[in-house]
Amino acid sequence: MLTKRVKLRIYYLFFFIFVGAIVIFFVLKSLNENVVYFFSPSDIYNKTNISLNKKIRVGGLVKEGSVFKDKKKINFTITDLKNEIIVSYSGLIPNLFSEGKGVIAEGKLKDKKYFIADQILAKHDENYMPPEVSDALNKND
């Protein structure tokens, strides 16, 4: 039913799509470091060539009980449940910042375990529920 020309066009097009997919795959793979919005504490722990002067973002969960506030400064620990980084920050914190929740800190590393942030972002997770349900869940824990 398909004429020769139609078949030829199918081959061309699928060849084009196939090559395109491969090219995009390798481009994204090589750009991986730049595509990720933040590093986890484990990423930083495993990194060998770390530059302390470059601005980076570290993300994870705010460790429970790790938040210490005074008038000017806030200190807390970002954890990915394997490795941890202590973050020091002075400035506005977003409303959704709280213990046990996701957070992203932007700033510079002092060393592999200590991070000085100049911006804090709260990261929301994929869970949406009414307060009553959340309370009920917490009671069960």
């Binding site: 084009f16 977003p94 959704l96 972002l121 009414p130 009553e132 959340s134």
Partner: protein
């Protein structure tokens, strides 16, 4: 058979059908908005900010769906040269463009109170912006290329290249660390969004989908009439 049958059917869609569809749309949107803005509960940490989601998520769905349609119809168009395919794709493009814009703007409005910033160059947001640019290029190619056959070919190629972007948008939140949260609704597992919020979301999706269909039918009809006029003039 398919070729001759479909345009005539669309051309015979009269204003009565459109009026009924419009009525259905308003009905669904009314129910959807009431349940999204008043009946559904606030979120346990976001509070009332969560209500932006009821517009944001359906808009994103529709903008991705529209581009998927444009891309696939472009493939079929290049291979089989079906006359009505480019007309359908051309009619659906502005809808996708507008919904992408709505998705970007509502996302930004949500991002400020939630994350603390309006915009971030993370993978999801950036790939969504690229989708917006693809829509823009696609529409501009149709607008500024005078030769119909050439416009058809260039726009199809643009759409097929843009098609690669869709899986990147969809899976960006799983492949890389992003500021944007992962999907709450997936095909493989139970939704992580409470049903009292999921239902208004689905109603809103239905309402906006019907809206898209109405606009599509109106635009598609105009394109078909244009085609007939051009044929006569030749």
């Amino acid at each position: 058979m398919f070729k001759n049958f479909f345009p005539n059917k669309v051309l015979s869609i009269n204003n009565k059908t459109l009026r009924i569809l419009t009525f259905v749309m308003f009905l669904i949107l009314f129910v959807g908005l009431i349940s999204a803005l008043f009946i559904s509960p606030p979120d346990y940490i976001q509070g009332d900010t969560v209500r932006i989601m009821y517009v944001h998520v359906p808009s994103s769905f529709i903008s991705l769906g529209c581009f998927a349609f444009i891309g696939i119809s472009s493939i079929l168009n290049l291979i089989f040269k079906i006359k009505i395919m480019p007309l359908m794709a051309k009619s659906i493009a502005p809808i996708g463009l507008v919904f992408t814009l709505i998705s970007l703007i509502t996302g930004s409005l949500w991002g400020k109170p939630t994350w603390g910033i309006w915009w971030a160059w993370d993978a999801r947001l950036t790939s969504m912006l690229i989708l917006f640019l693809f829509y823009l290029i696609y529409i501009l190619v149709w607008k500024f290329t005078n030769n119909y056959e050439r416009a058809n070919k260039i726009s199809s190629v643009v759409a097929i290249i843009g098609l690669f972007n869709l899986p990147i948008i969809k899976y960006s939140v799983d492949w890389w660390n992003t500021l944007h949260q992962p999907s709450s609704i997936t095909l493989t597992s139970a939704p992580t969004i409470h049903y009292s919020m999921l239902i208004p979301l689905l109603i809103m999706l239905g309402g906006l989908a019907v809206y898209s269909i109405i606009i599509f039918l109106m635009k598609y009809k105009i394109e078909l009439i244009k085609l007939k006029i051009n044929k006569k003039n030749k």
